[in-house]
Symmetry: C2
Subunit: 182 residues, 2 copies
């Protein structure tokens, strides 16, 4: 039997050159949350409003509910969609339109230093790993609530992590600082 047949269907898959294969089934995975125009720096806002939907493979979601953290082979997909504000019967607010691009965060401890890597997809072709000096790595490392991921923005998972005491040191320091300022 080929080795491939033993790999669970939602595990990350790579080309021989090490590019990540696009996880085409992600729209049937578990939805974690959506944001609109979330910004992390006090900089000027971009012109086009976008929603960011986050999905995770269901096996890892179930594991998180049990343990408060992510197992190996976890794949988080950030889907960026343009925000529409007119059309149909809409008189206010924003709804989701086309996909602009997707970003994928993969935990694969045998493959990646630090356990995790990011990949950016303009379409469904396999994508190269984003270099480790990109700011996504340091920001997730320093501020992600659990295991370099932004569980503070996933409302169904945040209470699980609190209960299981799986918050990282950087997140706890951020929270302490925020409390002292109030």
């Amino acid at each position: 039997m080929p080795l491939r047949a033993q790999t669970p269907v939602n595990d990350p898959s790579y080309t021989t050159g090490g590019n990540l294969v696009f996880p085409k089934a992600y729209r049937k995975w578990v939805f974690l949350s959506s944001g609109l125009d979330m910004a992390y720096l006090p900089s000027a806002r971009p012109g086009q409003s976008t929603f960011t939907n986050v999905f995770v493979n269901p096996e890892s979601y179930d594991a998180f509910l049990q343990t408060g953290t992510w197992p190996d082979k976890t794949t988080l997909v950030l889907e960026v969609r343009t925000a529409a504000d007119s059309g149909s019967i809409i008189r206010g607010g924003h709804y989701q339109s086309d996909v602009a691009h997707t970003e994928v965060h993969v935990k694969d401890t045998a493959r990646f230093k630090g356990g995790w890597a990011f990949f950016g997809f303009a379409d469904e072709a396999p994508a190269q790993m984003i270099p480790r000096n990109a700011t996504c790595y340091s920001c997730h490392q320093d501020h992600g609530a659990v295991d370099t991921t932004f569980v503070q923005f996933y409302p169904t998972l945040l209470p699980i992590a609190r209960d299981k005491k799986t918050f990282g040191a950087g997140y706890l320091a951020d929270e302490t600082k925020a409390t002292q300022q109030h």
Copy 2:
């Protein structure tokens, strides 16, 4: 064998008094889209910004991909969450916080006149049907793209419905009117 064991796990379930049992598993169903402060009347905006996440049972999602419309026993869940705009490392935009309430739209042709009914949940207790003279029924009937549902706001399903030619007459009239005004 009790009759209950033969009912597919995600089919709608009712109390003996006809109230809908809350579909507790909906966060593992298929996500259709999220909106922020979507409004349908040119009225004043409410003070608290909210996101609206929509989920559907996976059996009905798969059926829609094949047919462009909803099978009997379809359950759509609209989850309303407060929109937060500060906390953690956020310097702009909105992210999702607590559930404010949920609304459920069920297709059960043997039970409901017109095929569909709405239910509003303040918590997870079984809920009464929303009376048929409520505006949700007439607005969905007159403007929903497919079978009284707002598929025009579900970007993964809209192209399927266009391809399968399952748009309703009201939606097509709205689109014609919009085209003539441009």
